[in-house]
């Protein structure tokens, strides 16, 4: 225990990086996933197929492979994202490693988010969409005002599962240059062989807390959006 508590700032910083990876790729995957889902249920055949192809590619590829592609293949193709390090907003800038990691996590998770949203849209009775179109709403309007508000309720539990998986998937970044929780845990156990089990448990606890925060807020949302 002492090894961790005497370096508690390291522990917090490590989970800070984990949280950063989660928040950025979480928002990214929700946006991209929602967009893909709209394409998949949309009226344009080519877009439907393109979105379906995206899901096939990224849902069926191991996350590790996407990471390897980002870290090993992209720099060789000339995309190392070094340019982001020159952008500075209010004294803050992100590293190319962070961008590559969040990009890998976002691309991967979006496929699952898309499917969760699609299942939500499918849970809304077709008659609703037909009625919306019948009163003259465009496709975008009928999605925005009729289908999605109802779908959102149905989609909270599966979406929570996807985001919880994302929190834990951030640990893959440990082997790709990010000093997040799992990487820091390995540094701790390497330096403190005599406290291995305690260190492991403390880091597991950190993940449990993070996941529980997301899970609890999803319960709150579920209750809030519930229609009597």
């Amino acid at each position: 225990m002492e090894a961790v508590f005497s370096n508690f700032d390291e522990y917090l910083k490590a989970f800070g990086v984990t949280l950063g990876l989660f928040v950025v790729s979480g928002i990214g995957s929700l946006v991209l996933g929602l967009f893909l889902a709209s394409l998949r249920v949309g009226p344009v055949a080519i877009m439907r197929r393109a979105a379906a192809l995206y899901v096939i590619i990224f849902r069926n590829t191991p996350l590790l492979m996407i990471f390897i592609f980002m870290a090993a293949a992209m720099p060789k193709l000339g995309y190392n994202f070094k340019w982001v390090e020159d952008i500075e907003i209010a004294g803050w800038s992100v590293s190319a490693f962070f961008v590559r990691s969040t990009l890998a996590l976002t691309l991967y998770t979006s496929a699952f988010v898309c499917e969760a949203f699609r299942s939500g849209v499918n849970s809304v009775d077709l008659g609703q969409a037909e009625a919306a179109r019948a009163v003259g709403l465009t496709f975008a309007q009928s999605m925005r005002y009729v289908v999605l508000p109802q779908a959102l309720r149905a989609v909270v539990p599966p979406l929570t599962s996807v985001q919880v998986a994302l929190i834990k998937n951030t640990s893959v970044a440990a082997a790709f240059g990010m000093a997040e929780a799992t990487a820091t845990m390995r540094a701790f156990t390497n330096n403190n062989a005599d406290e291995r089990i305690q260190i492991f448990l403390l880091f597991a606890l950190g993940y449990i807390i993070l996941v529980e925060i997301v899970a609890l807020s999803s319960y709150v949302l579920e209750r809030k959006w519930k229609v009597a």
Partner: protein, 300 residues
């Protein structure tokens, strides 16, 4: 029906060709062993040890399990198609096994990564750990470490065209990669560099070549091995800035092994087999064998 016989003849020829290639392939694989040196195997070794010691048990069984690394060229490396790990660590293992009368082919090698070296020793999964295992006080709380059999220091590997980093004093603020969770990475972090952890050294070297990180760090000998592979693109810079004493791990329940390890190492220092082991492994990259390290007493 005409083409049939021709086709059949073709397949037969193809099969013969494949067979021939596979035979030559086998022959080649066998030749790889010629690089290694001959190992002295003691006869009737079991008589030399007192009853009840772990050495006696091992010598009587004629078998020993040794944990080594599989991903560090020169020190402990096993390619996907290799039968046995090669490197300085396995050579030291062979010397130790030899003193128990155990021939190299009777040694069971097990891959130990940094994280499982202590658990493997504590659970008796391996008898010895010879895996770039730096001697530290924390580790000595849970396992025994005899030696050191080798002393090395951490250095930096950069691209040949990099003029900015000439030593550890230049790495502040730059990105330096090594293996996730390693001591080397911790050390450069203390020097103000941004640590970038990867799973293996080879991935890390790729990052240096791609220019995604500025430098790679770990023990100088490993870096020299990579620099020797690509002398036009990579170079090792700066003086060593840490001292790592590689020790041999054994179970704390078997303290008698320490003296035996030290005695065997002393003998290997004296009869030249230690130097020979160095020359056929780490010495391949053109480095001369360093000074023999001073062994630490087992009484401590």
């Amino acid at each position: 029906m005409r083409p049939r016989p021709t086709l059949r003849r073709f397949t037969a020829a193809a099969a013969a060709a494949v067979l021939a290639t596979s035979i030559t392939a086998c022959g080649n694989a066998g030749n790889d062993d010629s690089e290694t040196r001959d190992v002295d195997v003691a006869e009737n070794a079991a008589d030399e040890f007192e009853d009840g010691t772990r050495m006696k048990e091992l010598a009587e069984d004629g078998k020993i399990t040794i944990g080594v690394k599989y991903d560090q060229p020169g020190l402990g490396f096993k390619g996907a198609t290799d039968d046995m790990p090669r490197g300085f660590d396995p050579e030291i293992g062979k010397i130790l096994a030899g003193s128990l009368g155990i021939a190299p082919e009777d040694i069971t090698w097990k891959e130990t990564i940094s994280d499982n070296r202590e658990p493997f020793l504590q659970e008796g999964e391996v008898d010895l750990v010879i895996a770039t295992y730096s001697i530290t006080d924390e580790r000595r709380q849970v396992v025994g470490q005899a030696g050191p059999y080798y002393v090395t220091g951490q250095q930096l590997l950069v691209r040949s065209d990099n003029d900015e980093i000439n030593g550890v004093e230049d790495i502040k603020g730059s990105e330096v990669c090594s293996v996730t969770g390693s001591t080397s990475l911790d050390n450069v972090k203390k020097e103000g560099a941004k640590p970038r952890g990867f799973d293996t050294y080879s991935e890390c070297v790729d990052q240096v070549l791609d220019g995604t990180v500025d430098a790679m760090t770990t023990d100088g000998t490993i870096l020299l091995g990579y620099a020797a592979e690509q002398p036009d693109d990579l170079k090792v810079v700066g003086e060593p800035f840490s001292e790592e004493l590689y020790g041999i791990g054994y179970s704390k329940d078997r303290p008698e092994m320490c003296q035996w390890i030290n005695d065997t190492l002393t003998q290997a220092f004296e009869d030249g087999s230690w130097e020979e082991a160095f020359d056929v492994t780490l010495g391949e990259s053109g480095v001369d064998a360093p000074e023999k390290p001073e062994l630490q007493s087992c009484d401590a």
